[in-house]
Every structure is written in structure tokens, then in C-alpha cells.
């Protein structure tokens, strides 16, 4: 995003709307720190600029910068030329939301989600690479159904495309599956690497309910030092045809 200095009246209405606080006061006008801007579009849509000084310049739509809006503005679909066969907005996948009909997370496996830049700080993509390279070294593989896959130069090593490393997005999800037996190893490794990232990461774990409705993994997670929040996202098992074990 950009603020047209000729139109800006320095009314100070827009800075509070910016989720990554990149609108600053300058020489009698406000300006956007475009290196920090994640192109989420909130200032353009919601700040109500009285002179319409805020706009999206053409450069914002050019690769690699175009990645920013794709991962920060839920109203923007992933560009088809960059994410062939994905056709969706938002930043993640069907994940556990449709697991009752896809069976992507079967018994015996866990899903893991690491959402970089959430809540509300944003992240440079190079921070993500610290985790993707670690995970591939531990045998984790990334699948083409996740937008992250298309950002990798070498998916088998978790290496990002060089030109993307300095791009900043509001958030991006690293999503993968692991065998139940790998939980302790993966969590220990992630604890270590997450201490080195220059952003925040919201961590999630996907699991099936047991037949009696219990979630035995919570005890294992607590023993590993992870606190399980009392609130969660639950697939109610209403999709059809349901995948039976």
C-alpha cells in the first residue's frame, strides 16, 4: 500500500488501523513503511481516508511482492500462476475442517500447524525456513495441497525460493503430518528452533477423538511442556460420505 503525499491531509485517521503499525507521520503527511507493509488491505478498506489518499500501487501485484497480499489479505485468492491447482483465498488448507470426508488425518497420525506471525506481528518468510529445513531433516514432507509448498525451491530440503526470503506477510501456516510415535522428537526439536525465530508462532495439533470422546494426546503434550488451551476447533463429523477407520 502507499499513501499519496499530494492527497494526504495528515488527519491521523489511518495509523491505528494498520495491524503491523507501519503507517508513520512524516513531513506534514503520513507515509507507509512499504518494507514493513504486508498488503493486508485494512487501511484501504476500513480506515475511511477522507481524501482517498491510500492506494495499492502496481508494484504490489508484481512477484515476489505479490506474495504479501496472497498471505495477508483473506479477500485475495492465491495467484494461479504461482499456486497452480490451489484456487482458494485465506492462507491454509481444508486441514481438519473436512477431515470427516477426506481422512487426511487418520488414527495413528497427528497433524501439526505452526502459524508464523500470528497473532498480529507478521513475519518475514526467512523465519519460516528455519523450521521447514529442520523438519525435512527429521523426515517430515510437505504436500502440494498447502500454499507453503509452492514457496519452496527444494521441498525435500525445506528451502525457500531465494527471492521470497525477505518478503513479509501477516501470517503463514506450516502444516504437516507426523506419526504418533514421532511426537516427542518433533516437539523437542521445535521447542529449540522456535526460540530462534524473530516473530511469534501459534502452535496447533490435529488429532482424532477416541471412540469414547477422549483426547489422550493432551497428557503427552502437557508432559512435553505444552499447555493445551481449553478452547479448540472441532470437526463435528457431519460431512458425508464419512471416512470410516
Amino acid at each position: 500500500m502507499r499513501i499519496d503525499p499530494e492527497k494526504c491531509t495528515a488527519c491521523a485517521q489511518c495509523p491505528d488501523y494498520c495491524p503491523v503499525t507501519c503507517i508513520h507521520e512524516g513531513d506534514g503527511v503520513y507515509f507507509m513503511d512499504e518494507d514493513e507493509c504486508v498488503e493486508c488491505g485494512v487501511c484501504l478498506r476500513d480506515a475511511g481516508c477522507p481524501t482517498e489518499a491510500i492506494y495499492m500501487p502496481e508494484e504490489s501485484n508484481r512477484y515476489p511482492r505479490s506474495i504479501r497480499a496472497a498471505f495477508s489479505d483473506p479477500a485475495v485468492q492465491y495467484p494461479e500462476e504461482l499456486f497452480p491447482d490451489l484456487k482458494q483465498g485465506g492462507r491454509g488448507t481444508e486441514e481438519m475442517k473436512t477431515n470427516d470426508v477426506t481422512g487426511n488425518f487418520p488414527r495413528g497420525e497427528f497433524g501439526m500447524t505452526l502459524e508464523f506471525g500470528r497473532p498480529g506481528t507478521g513475519t518475514r518468510l526467512r523465519e519460516v525456513e528455519k523450521v521447514t529445513t529442520l523438519l525435512t531433516s527429521l523426515g517430515i514432507r510437505f504436500e502440494g495441497s498447502n500454499a507453503l509448498f509452492f514457496l519452496l525451491e527444494e521441498p525435500e530440503r525445506g528451502v525457500l525460493k531465494r527471492e521470497l526470503r525477505d518478503e513479509k506477510v501477516l501470517s503463514i501456516i506450516v502444516e504437516f503430518t507426523l506419526a504418533e510415535a514421532q511426537l516427542e522428537t518433533i516437539v523437542a526439536a521445535l521447542f529449540e528452533v522456535l526460540q530462534t525465530v524473530d516473530t511469534v508462532v501459534s502452535w496447533g495439533l490435529v488429532t482424532r477423538f477416541e471412540e469414547d470422546g477422549s483426547l489422550p494426546v493432551t497428557d503427552r503434550l502437557e508432559k512435553l511442556g505444552l499447555t493445551v488451551r481449553p478452547n479448540a476447533k472441532v470437526n463435528m463429523g457431519m460431512g458425508r460420505p464419512i471416512i470410516e477407520d
Binding site: 470437526n235 463435528m236 460420505p241
Partner: protein, 218 residues
């Protein structure tokens, strides 16, 4: 998109905060899903949701999305999101969805134990869960918890910390009512999962804490 999985809060102030998400699967039941999504939206609307919408609509009910216009647009959608402020509404919606048997996957976010209890009452068997394991990394970058309880109601992170602080200040000064403040803060969240009722309660809670602090000092 785990946009309702990591809402911050206490068991007490998450008690009446539920989001519901109907999501088609691309290779299973997305083709021609418009009429089913419309049916689901009708069921959602029959139980007085606090808010609804989806990213494809570009704005939420709280930001002026017209239900009829939205319903017509669902032929091009793959999901519908909605937000409720009571367990009874969720119970009723799930009962009606069970009867409608659309075959579209339904996800409910909220307190796990409450959701399990409601599922049992309605005769449903929860299938899969995404557990939230908290925030890691540079936590010193985060605002205070009271702000996070509001900003994380937009899972895409579009409600800015300074906006919450500004609105809370205006509510404190009496320039905005908590209700006006909540409506203001809901605007940037297009998916319609920002719970305005809970936001009102959180703003009132902050006011009450301020007055208690004043009382203690006095």
C-alpha cells in the same frame, strides 16, 4: 486456515463464544454446493447469530453484509462462517443441521468440554480436533492479554492492536459505548467470526477493572 483456533481468553469469558464453519471439500462435495450452503446459512440465521460472512464476500454482517445478497453469492463460495453467543444457539443449529443432513463438514470452535456436551445432547460424535498449544517465539512482541482477547477474534489478524487501545480509551472516556466500540472493532474482520457480544463484555470488563483500581487507590 485455522482462523478460529487460537482465540485468547479465559474459560469464563470464552463461555459464550462459539464460531461455526461449514466447509466443503474440494474433491468430495464442493461441486454444486451453493444450494446446500444456502440451506446452512438459513439455519444459521434462524438462531440469531451475532455475526456471519466469509472472506469471499469481502465484508461481514457487522460491516453491512446483506443476508439476501450474501445468500445469492453462495454459488461461488466454498464455505460459510458464523458466530454465536450462546450454547443453546449452537445446540439448536446443530440439531437443525443434523436433520437437514447436507453432508457438508461442520466445524465448531469454542470450549472443548462444552462442545462435547452439546454434541452428546444432539446425538453427534465429534470427529477431529485442532488443539491450540499457545504462542511461542518472541512473545515480548505481543500486546497485553486483554488486547489479545479482542484482536484474536479476527483469526486473520486484521484487527490492529492500536485500534483496540484507541477504542478502549474512547469507551473509558465515555466517547463511545461498549456496543459502539465493538461494532467499530468488528469492521476489519471480513469472515464474520468477530463476536460483538463478547467484545462488549470484554470492554465492560476493562471498564470495571479500571473503576475497581480507582476505588482501591481512593
Amino acid at each position: 486456515m485455522s482462523h478460529s483456533a487460537h482465540r485468547c481468553g479465559t474459560i469464563r469469558n470464552l463461555q459464550n463464544d462459539y464460531t461455526m464453519y461449514a466447509r466443503t471439500s474440494r474433491h468430495v462435495n464442493r461441486e454444486g454446493c451453493g444450494p446446500k450452503l444456502r440451506k446452512i446459512l438459513d439455519i444459521f440465521l434462524s438462531e440469531n447469530p451475532v455475526n456471519f460472512g466469509s472472506s469471499h464476500s469481502g465484508k461481514s454482517f457487522a460491516a453491512g453484509l446483506d443476508p439476501e445478497e450474501y445468500s445469492r453469492s453462495l454459488d461461488k463460495a466454498y464455505a460459510v462462517a458464523c458466530c454465536f453467543s450462546s450454547a443453546s444457539a449452537i445446540r439448536n443449529v446443530l440439531g437443525k443441521l443434523k436433520e437437514a443432513d447436507t453432508g457438508i463438514s461442520i466445524v465448531v470452535s469454542g470450549l472443548i468440554e462444552e462442545i462435547k456436551k452439546i454434541a452428546e445432547e444432539v446425538g453427534l460424535k465429534p470427529h477431529t480436533v485442532l488443539l491450540s498449544l499457545g504462542v511461542h517465539g518472541r512473545k515480548e512482541l505481543l500486546p497485553k492479554e486483554k488486547v489479545l482477547e479482542i484482536t484474536t477474534m479476527c483469526g486473520h489478524g486484521l484487527v490492529a492492536t492500536p485500534l483496540v487501545e484507541e477504542v478502549a480509551e474512547k469507551v473509558k472516556e465515555g466517547k463511545l459505548t461498549p456496543e459502539q466500540g465493538a461494532r467499530f472493532l468488528a469492521q476489519p474482520c471480513p469472515c464474520g467470526i468477530f463476536n460483538l457480544d463478547r467484545c462488549v463484555e470484554l470492554l465492560k470488563e476493562q471498564l470495571s477493572e479500571i473503576s475497581q483500581e480507582g476505588g482501591e487507590k481512593g
